[in-house]
């Protein structure tokens, strides 16, 4: 126990001597949260729309105003007939062009189907998909209005909207992205700081040759590992607290469930991450390599394969299998449950088990490699 403490104190001193790195480890989480909070927004609004109204009737003007007044679209240009519409999209002046043909008003009045064209820049597929949905809804609404007007004209009585659609959003009623970002970001950042910090600290000792000194010291492998990782466990926990506080102050994200459940899951997750860091350090000889390797096994899967931003459901089957080896995947489910849904650990024993398994596996592999190095 004393030996572990001695190694931990030594490590802490080294950390304190490099204030820039410490500041990064602690300040990064809040910084990333702000960055994500602003950059990641699924609320597509004010899409630049060009309108080419070749009809110039009351009906065509109604349709244009339905688009422009929806707040989804901003009128960016009104190209004359014969204008180069593709240029408009290519130069990014507009995301889409609504083209209303000459006979639109006449066809509508005659009770016929009146086509209008929507040209979309599909380079950003996500925005285009959302815009397509908006446009479809606006046109459906316009058709409902037209139907009702016709019914009134024919029969003299108005029909109420025939089906009432009531959307409810649970757990995150404002659909704010920061609400679901906070759990994901904790998963990513804790993995990143824990893996990188431990991997780099061990490799640095290797590079400077001080690892030999530690090896000849009367320390068991387990004591060395524990002593070296404990300080980083504490720092990572502090980073987690900073994220939660920043999320609360900046974006009003509150933890609805119990803090104890949160702590239990986070500790389990961190132990696995620290184990992974040590494992990398036994494989890498230079800090540059440890850093690149660390990024590759921690940041990349935690961002891409955990369901953080990109849903696992939509991945190919083979890749879905790979995601089972990504601890952030399980941690994220637990965190979203505890923070957003206010549940305890009850529904998430599977996920806790998977995290424990991951921690055991990395620690076992890391100690095996360390022991072999000694022998």
């Amino acid at each position: 126990m004393k030996k572990i403490a001695a190694v931990a104190v030594k490590e802490l001193r080294q950390i304190v001597r490099d204030p820039l790195s410490l500041l990064m480890l602690l300040g990064l989480p809040a910084f990333m949260l702000v960055l994500y909070g602003f950059a990641l927004n699924f609320d597509v609004r004010h899409v630049a729309l060009a309108v080419q109204d070749r009809d110039h009737t009351a009906a065509s003007r109604d349709l244009v105003s339905a688009f422009v007044n929806s707040t989804y679209f901003d009128l960016a240009a009104t190209p004359a007939p014969g204008a180069d519409l593709e240029r408009l999209l290519e130069r990014g002046r507009a995301r889409g062009v609504l083209v209303i043909p000459e006979d639109y008003g006449r066809r509508l009045a005659a009770g016929e189907t009146a086509p209008v064209q929507l040209l979309l820049d599909g380079a950003d597929a996500n925005t285009a998909t959302t815009v397509l949905g908006y446009a479809g809804a606006l046109v459906a609404e316009a058709n409902t209005e037209e139907l009702r007007r016709t019914v009134v004209r024919a029969t003299g009585r108005d029909l109420p909207s025939p089906i009432e659609y009531r959307p409810y959003v649970w757990f995150n009623p404002e659909l704010s992205t920061t609400q679901f970002l906070v759990p994901g970001l904790m998963g990513v950042l804790l993995m990143l700081t824990a893996v990188l910090a431990t991997a780099l600290s061990v490799v640095r000792e290797k590079e400077r040759g001080t690892m030999e000194q530690l090896r000849v010291a009367p320390l068991r492998t387990a004591e060395l590992i524990l002593g070296k990782t404990l300080p980083y466990l504490v720092i990572s926990l502090a980073a987690a607290v900073i994220i939660l506080v920043a999320a609360r102050l900046l974006f009003a994200v509150e933890v609805k469930g119990s803090y104890l459940a949160l702590l239990a899951a986070t500790l389990l997750y961190l132990v696995g991450a620290l184990g992974l860091g040590i494992l990398i350090s036994t494989l890498a000889d230079s800090q540059a390599l440890a850093f690149q390797g660390g990024l590759l096994v921690s940041l990349l899967p935690a961002v891409l394969l955990s369901g953080f931003i990109f849903q696992i459901r939509t991945m190919p089957a083979a890749l879905q299998l790979v995601t089972h080896a990504v601890p952030a995947r399980y941690y994220l489910v637990i965190l979203r449950g505890v923070i957003l849904k206010g549940t305890g650990l009850g529904p998430y024993w599977d996920q806790m088990g998977a995290l424990a398994l991951f921690a055991l596996a990395t620690l076992a592999l890391a100690s095996l490699r360390l022991v072999r190095h000694e022998g």
């Binding site: 950059a39 086509p115 089906i163 690149q292």
Partner: protein
Amino acid sequence: MYVLWRIVVKEFLQLEQDRRMIPVIFVAPVLQLVIFGFAVNTDVSHVPIVLVDQDRTAASRELVDRFTSSSYFELVGTEASVSAIDGWLVAGRAQAALVIEAGYGAGGADGRASRVQLVVDGSDAGPATVALGYGAAVVAAAGNDRLARSLRAAGGEAGVDPAAPPRAGRTELAPRVWYNPDLLSRWFYVPAVLAMILMIMTMLLSAMAVVREKEIGTMEQIMVTPIRSWQLIAGKLLPFAAIGLVQVFLVTGVAVFGFGVPLRGSFLLLLLLTQLFVLNTLGLGLLVSTVVRTQQQAMMTAAFTMMLPMVYLSGLIFPIENMPPAIQYVTYAIPLRYYADIIRGIFLRGSGLDVLWPQALTLAVMGLAILAVASLRFRKRLD
């Protein structure tokens, strides 16, 4: 020129000595690209929904068909009561619940409103937004059909000419999507990986190469040799520009032949404009190296204060239009923003220099400015 060449050769030799670095430089990008290409798919489809049908009429079944026949929703279960959907959403087994209230089929004939609820798990806001929108569209379509039916029925009523039943005009939206007709999100993300890999490699390598010499102490040796500082800087940076160029070939090859992303513009133009971008990243890497003392600091500073903000605020992954106005102004200061426009333009839109010249010019000016500042700082530290 000869001196410059010797430094370039020395850098390459050093790179070769660190053998494990070579797979990282060449295998990592391809691996990253493959994971990105497959994992990053934001096409929303098959949202798992659980059904509570309290109406149980032909009309309610027809509505369920409308939901499941679109590829956006997939029925994963049925429950008898509304209280049961809680368990489905909390455990994440379903992402939405469709509740058709009793009286839906009667269509108001029995005094009850036709009401449909869609309960969505909002904890992942992106798919939730899309699911709500599609849900609204499906219900609106069902409602319009119902209105049209009652209109036809009204045709038989007294006072209406049976030979000319009233018909309502219908606006039909004919969408045409350019550049990416199937709206594959992969086409959006895969070219983005090119920019990211290029930035990570050139910036990190250049930042660390200088700091490593400082750490090992060989910087003093170089300083006492009769090398001018511009030769030293150019000699140190050129190899990384070359590596970057090789990576463009590598990544473009995988993107085009592996993922079927079209390269509609000129590859030569892509290479040319990439060099302008690399000017920026190498300059930033050099700038970082003048600020820090150790390799670890160099990596962390480059990764977290330069690369991450650049990736998120450049529009490379997250559209700039959705950001708050103040942040939108910040994005103009980020070189990656212009390069993102360039790669999307060349890959997907087939744009040439006639469209992309403002971006190219901005990159050139920014790159030279950054490189000048970094070199000045670098020289000052040498003296």
